[in-house]
Symmetry: C2
Subunit: 171 residues, 2 copies
């Protein structure tokens, strides 16, 4: 039996937003099994808003295509009324790519773009529920500190964690 070598995957990072990304984002976000139907709908709406309004939407994206298919993405933007703080609205990776380092690569590139745009800090919010322990661990490993915890924020017993990463100018 000849063992077939897995071909090297080809990863492309893309920042232009395509019409097909509405469904792609829905697929990635729903596929994680982490988000409610309401959250999946919101994630897709942000793509639509970007397609409709362009940069004026305030939403920037980074898509990671693995062998031609969107397998991860981030949605981020300058926080309204701030000149230096950016919000990481979404970051998600398809289940078949989790643990591959793809999320880290998407986040690194996101931070690089924010730094280039003059950003001094990135904010990311997530839930305190047990289910999100890996998410909170991911932010910790990527240099994020817990800036605040709001108890019972999403619902009774479901806190909101706000993570902050300060960006230095050199990167």
């Amino acid at each position: 039996m000849i063992e077939q070598k897995t071909p090297r995957t080809h990863i492309v990072f893309r920042e232009a937003v395509l019409q097909t990304d509405i469904e792609a984002v829905r697929g990635v976000v729903a596929g994680t099994g982490f988000f409610s139907a309401e959250e999946v709908a919101i994630a897709a709406e942000l793509v639509e808003e970007r397609l409709q309004k362009g940069p004026a939407s305030g939403y920037e994206f980074i898509f990671a295509e693995v062998d031609g298919a969107v397998k991860g993405y981030s949605c981020y933007g300058l926080i309204p009324c701030s000149t230096v703080s950016w919000d990481l609205y979404w970051i998600a990776v398809a289940p078949d790519q989790q643990g591959s380092g793809l999320g880290r690569k998407v986040l690194d590139l996101t931070e690089q773009r924010i730094r280039e745009a003059g950003g001094l800090a990135v904010y990311a919010e997530t839930s305190g529920r047990e289910q999100y322990t890996p998410t909170r661990g991911f932010y910790g490993r990527c240099g994020y500190a817990t800036g605040a915890v709001f108890e019972d924020f999403y619902g009774p017993g479901d806190a909101k964690y706000v993570f902050v990463k300060r960006l230095d100018r050199q990167g």
Copy 2:
């Protein structure tokens, strides 16, 4: 010389949103001298969005009319992805009514409506700049606690304060 008695002012609280509220809100918010042109534009846009989308906008309003003119208002809503936390997006009172207790009345009614809708907490954000010391004092007097402080949030040296008030069921 006969001292003319100031007639008792007539205050009406109104929750229906009118087309004229776009300009009224712009006037009240700009009139405070507290907000940037960008912030004034955002305040007015929320009224427009409510007029266009109705309750689906997620923005609720309380307008305080003093002798027929809008002199204060609040804009609030259930925070997306939360079932119990509400955001006080805006509260502002015209300069000629400041110190009259109008802001407190608008806030009390806002909290009452949130409680009636099943809300358990109200969140309000403001700046740490010295100019906002009265605003922070107002929230403190109204029973709000400082939930978080994010340094350099709006800009270098300009922190974001997040105030939280937990609502009991009885009010």
